[in-house]
Symmetry: D2
Subunit: 348 residues, 4 copies
């Protein structure tokens, strides 16, 4: 059994890791830390775990964490980077769900996250953890930087188009919507049921922290000679708990020579265990992936004009965070990629 | 008091008309028809109307309706067109909330609504009822075709940009989301709480009936010499009851000569009683217009690139249907434009 | 115009007072206070008020408030009692929406609210503001203590039964459920959309602060010689924003001599503008009172056994708080009781 | 592998059976029937099953079903009873999720279900499938009648009190609330998102079909000499998809000799894999059992008066239907009782 540690287990990605790992056939969580809740049984905080998880939260401690085979960071940005050098020095491998090691340029990171990066020297060692185009690098990684929730849905949707350089990459439009778990488990007025319920609104239309990550990752997909991806990204807040839906609009570079898009998408993802291309004409729904690690995708070409529409849905806590982290762990340790992740979405 | 008739009062636009008109200081509903519910008190079907509306549904009858000063059609498409010649012949004025008289080209209408238009000769008499750019024509109209809910939100958001010919009108991207009342009050499985609740999905990505109406109306706003508006329109279904949110993406024809967009929007709508331009940087929310006739709008230019983002929200049953219909009535009869509509949105 | 002041306008009862009073034909809000938000336009915080309310929040100040004809307290408990002596001394009349003056016994109050009452000498002057059985006293009151939301729904449901001493008053069972606005507008984790949404739970089963208020008020309704009301009260939290539903179970003292309950209820409330007894067999729904000051009630006698079931619904922010406060104001100042309150509930 | 057939797989209990059985280590669904959808892949109807279930719906056929080791009926009432004689004659065992074989008295069944029972001679062979007090009988059963969702939550909550004859069994009060999946997957207006969303109401206060089942089952728990259980049962409809919450009120026969209720409940359920007694003072939440087969229970004695309050929550589709059916199958076939059911509830 792989021994797993979790740093920062009180947030929603923490409890989601526990939900998945507590049933994983080849991994066992042996330590979970939280300064604020040290000493408290995890199942007191998250009663769904009663009978499944017997651990108590403990103070974070590098020595204890270092005895694990792998450590997940389920912390806000700024935490992982400070513990990372000491932790990696113990020889354990790390999967960071936070934003700390996603952006290769520490200056760019500092600008969007309003703080100096605490550990720029390790950024280059981090592998960006999207299995669908980084699988080989992930196998060897000591440090995996798991992508953000919006970036995951968006990258998977655009991957076939950008790899083939089929669209005007400088004017990508990404209209996305997320359930409120994306904002974490903090007592902010804006995310009260009474404020965020029965409501829909855009936010961050002027600039969202996921923008530089999205642009960097899309550029990584592009073949040499493509014009670097540039996106207009408007996220919206849904009156829901889980789920991300991304609607991406891209203009064909040459509408006359476009390949069959349905076939293109189906072929590209044929061997991917967690990407499902819907039949032509069917729209994916967030509920069809609730609690599962699946990303479901559709592609349309409305009125046969030159704008292509890609729809992609994920559960932001699963494929958008903790599920993808477990998928990365499976790849790193040579396990079946769907170990612990072979779950049917909860519908209805 | 203006005597009002309502045809087809059992749907959501019908009950919304009654909510508004029952408190209107200068109008009185005297007849409301429904074949299916004839003889039943309206307040038995909609218990919020108990104590406010004493009418019973009656069979539709042109003679009785013809005694009204104005008749609203709150019917599915295909109904108003058949009654219209006889009804207009009585001299009453008509406000049609359905799609029957919105599209000027009966061939185009037939293609999108899958039936031959029953009364093409009256289409040219219909005034398209968006007060914000049709106010003068509405005053004189015998027949007003109220716009659809999506088209209303979209038109108001694009009006300042298209009137000034500032954007690439051939590649407009409209990403919109609606509460489930947009689908009406019919027992369809897809709109059960258990299916549409806790879910988000696009629909009609391949082509939605509001598309020809949107394109026609946007072209009507454009000055001579503009390239005719062409839109990619993807609607989404929200797990909510009321509210439409439209996020519109338009590329500047010349980003270097763009005027101050905030000022442009504020000036354009300065005298409009039901359009509210939000302060710069503030995102409108659907809950801020729930139950009110207001449209709230914001405009952004993300990263100062050449794509402009306009956000607009309305209550689909109010400004998107029955409220706008009452606003049209007020204009037609020379009343204060906000008579019966001076309502604060229900928040929280 | 009656000049109105509001103390503590940033909470949900504050914005609800503004929604109602901004359209009141004979009252005008002239001052609204908030220490935290002083200087900020009210409509910046609550965007539904844009175009309807031009006031800014100000620091609370007895002199300014004292110039009002009436002052509403929309504050947490413990605030009104400290300002009350100075404020009443100015001659203004006061309507307190908080719990400060509801309980006649200051010891009892202290026990449930965990603090000593700051102004016990004024408690006896307070009139408990349920118009349905206190109308005459309210007319003369200098200080009205508005009832809590749960107590309002419960009292109206039990009034006909207790006045007639028809039920075992020592074993009343009250099972009630509330939308999350009942918890106020504070950033507590438990009331996040992600915690309180898609969930239902009881709370306070061991004892809720409204219990002593409920028992005191029910006893006030009972004729001499009745056994003092004693209740088991279990509130529940609904995944909704507005609405209270109370299901009350009372055993008939003598099932054989029970009067016709439907007729009893209809007669008792025949002249009440804000109590609506539903037709026999119809269940009231919270949505039928959303945004309105109405209480709708049904009474059942399942299987003709000796347990009577009363169902009552209100909007907790309207009849359960701010609407009832305005109703009390109307009574105090001799206005039409429904002035400013003649609103149709927002359905759907 | 146990070969499983499912009759009537298009409803919510059908898809829930597939979610659970598709991951069951020792069972395999080999046939699933639906007259309406015959020929259609199951995963076309329920897209969460894409990649997990490859079956198509087929016409129901006794010969094919008879080759299964066990057949589940996930049909509306009235269907199973007609197929049952022929099916049992094949030697297969049957687990009926419908109401057909729950009530021992066919006259009583006929009265509440408005039809004559089609197979009264087999009723006596049916074992009522609540493992917590019928485990031994279930092991041998050829035909298990799975309890209804409300009855399951209610029985588990009252079991310790009734077995010990501690409460006034003639005046039990049961106030319960259910998510909308309880009403099934049919296109009824009342269960539209626009009708059942953002709303709370009682229904069936005058008498609900689960009443006779509840009373029969509670009486089965009572020791000889107890007064037969009689309940007042008021169900409510929650604006949610899954979940049942039952709040049960029972008066102590002798408050002075009551045992420690917390200990009583903990001991009674100590060995039950799917009943979890919460720590004293903690209220169970529906979300803590979403998608799991667990029932969580709390017991309170408010103000130490003589009324006992029991709170119990289940997922109506899992422990309230399909999960309990699988639990029964596991018992019938000598498998680990939690095989295929060792699932963590989806929270948040």
């Amino acid at each position: 059994m792989i021994k797993v540690g979790i740093v920062g287990g009180t947030g929603y990605t923490g409890v989601e890791l526990l939900r998945l790992l507590s049933k994983h056939p080849e991994a066992e969580v042996v330590v979970i830390t939280s300064r604020a809740e040290a000493g408290i049984p995890v199942a007191d905080l998250y009663t769904n775990l009663r009978g499944h998880v017997d651990l108590c939260f403990t103070e974070p401690d590098v020595a204890t964490l270092g005895e694990c085979d792998v450590v997940f960071f389920a912390t806000p940005h700024g935490v992982a980077q400070n513990l990372m050098p000491a932790l990696l020095a113990t020889g354990t491998r790390v999967i960071d769900l936070s934003a700390d090691f996603r952006i290769r340029d520490p200056e760019l990171w500092a600008r969007w996250y309003n703080q100096t990066h605490g550990c720029p020297e390790l950024i280059s060692q981090a592998v960006y953890g999207v299995p669908e185009y980084q699988r080989e690098a992930i196998k060897q990684a000591r440090l995996v930087a798991c992508p953000g929730c919006y970036p995951t849905a968006i990258q998977l949707g655009l991957l076939p188009l950008l790899e083939q350089n089929l669209v005007d990459s400088e004017h990508l439009i990404i209209d996305a919507a997320s359930g409120a778990t994306g904002a974490g488990r903090q007592g902010k007025v804006d995310f009260l049921l009474t404020e965020a319920g029965d409501n829909f609104k855009a936010y961050g239309a002027g600039g969202h922290r996921h923008l530089p990550e999205i642009e960097q990752s899309l550029r990584d997909m592009q073949p040499a000679g493509s014009k670097p991806a540039q996106v207009t990204f408007v996220p919206h807040l849904l009156p829901m708990i889980r789920g991300i839906h991304a609607t991406t609009y891209a203009r064909a570079l040459d509408a006359n020579t476009l390949p069959d898009l349905q076939a293109l998408f189906e072929e590209r993802f044929a061997d991917e265990p967690f990407v499902d291309v819907m039949p032509a004409g069917v729209h994916p729904q967030t509920r069809s992936v609730k609690g599962s690690n699946m990303c479901r995708i559709s592609v349309f070409q409305p009125q046969q004009r030159d704008t292509i529409v890609v729809l992609s849905v994920i559960d932001n806590l699963t494929k958008g965070a903790s599920g993808q982290a477990v998928q990365n762990m499976n790849i790193m340790f040579g396990l079946a990629e769907n170990a612990g992740l072979d779950v049917v979405a909860l519908l209805p």
